[in-house]
Symmetry: C2
Subunit: 147 residues, 2 copies
Amino acid sequence: MRAWSRLLRAYAATTRLLSTELQAEHGLTVNDYEALYVLGRAEGRRMKRVELSRRLLLTPSGVTRLLEGLEDAGLVERVACPTDLRVSYAQLTDAGAAKLEAASCGHVASVRALFAEHFSEAEMEHLAELLGRLPGVSEGDDACGAA
Amino acid sequence: MRAWSRLLRAYAATTRLLSTELQAEHGLTVNDYEALYVLGRAEGRRMKRVELSRRLLLTPSGVTRLLEGLEDAGLVERVACPTDLRVSYAQLTDAGAAKLEAASCGHVASVRALFAEHFSEAEMEHLAELLGRLPGVSEGDDACGAA
DNA sequence: GACATTCCATTGACTCCGCAAGTATTGTCA
DNA sequence: TGACAATACTTGCGGAGTCAATGGAATGTC
């Protein structure tokens, strides 16, 4: 089916493009960015790791590894939960917030540029709506980059 | 932008689902399947590796590795080109064609099921059309699984 | 006919991420 | 209370794919 194969290709193509750019300009992967973004909008700029894994559609181990990198870069801190010793929050640091701010600007512009080149506002809306119907896609929504 | 973040999530979600199934039933990844499929419809069931990398949106090295697996499994053969010693064709074997046949049935059904559950025919068409506008998505088209 | 250039393909080192297994903590129910 | 399940997270291993570097072959230029 065309829709399916195109979804594969669309992902591959756009990801490659945007990821390369984000990497070159800020040293972040797409998922790094999404993680910072999600944390930035979260209550107290922190979030349980499990929560994060649901938002990003990653497995818990994926989240651990993702945060490893962000922690090493000082963008995210590990904060223990006082009431439940099992959980540890991922908390955006000031550096992380600054990084997010810095990256947002260019990244959002790139995304907009890429999509606006091929779609009208209404079509983007429609595309988002359609994709949102697939299972699990619009879980904890409000999602991606500012605007 | 919602459309972008949902594209990411849609890919992650659907891929995970369908890939797991394909893996369990036939030991193929999604890209393995796409490769077999593309080869199956190619002139003489063979294709230059560069060509394949364009169709699958993989880098040449990605193709080399992908075919490595398929060759080990006896689904694809390496055939030299007489007129240009640089190129080597990937040629679908009879076993490969059989495997494709076997996998197609279930896989196509799964894909259809997944999409049909959430979209009407017209919506799928529309979705495919929208995704196809993104750069590089509808290159060498006719694309995916029988239908 | 020698040279640089370009193209096809492969390899090694790396990243990202999923799976399965393991640990630590919490909750439940006898 | 103590046993057992469930939850949150981490870790070892492996697969898949990228990039950069390489080698071999074809092409264009003088």
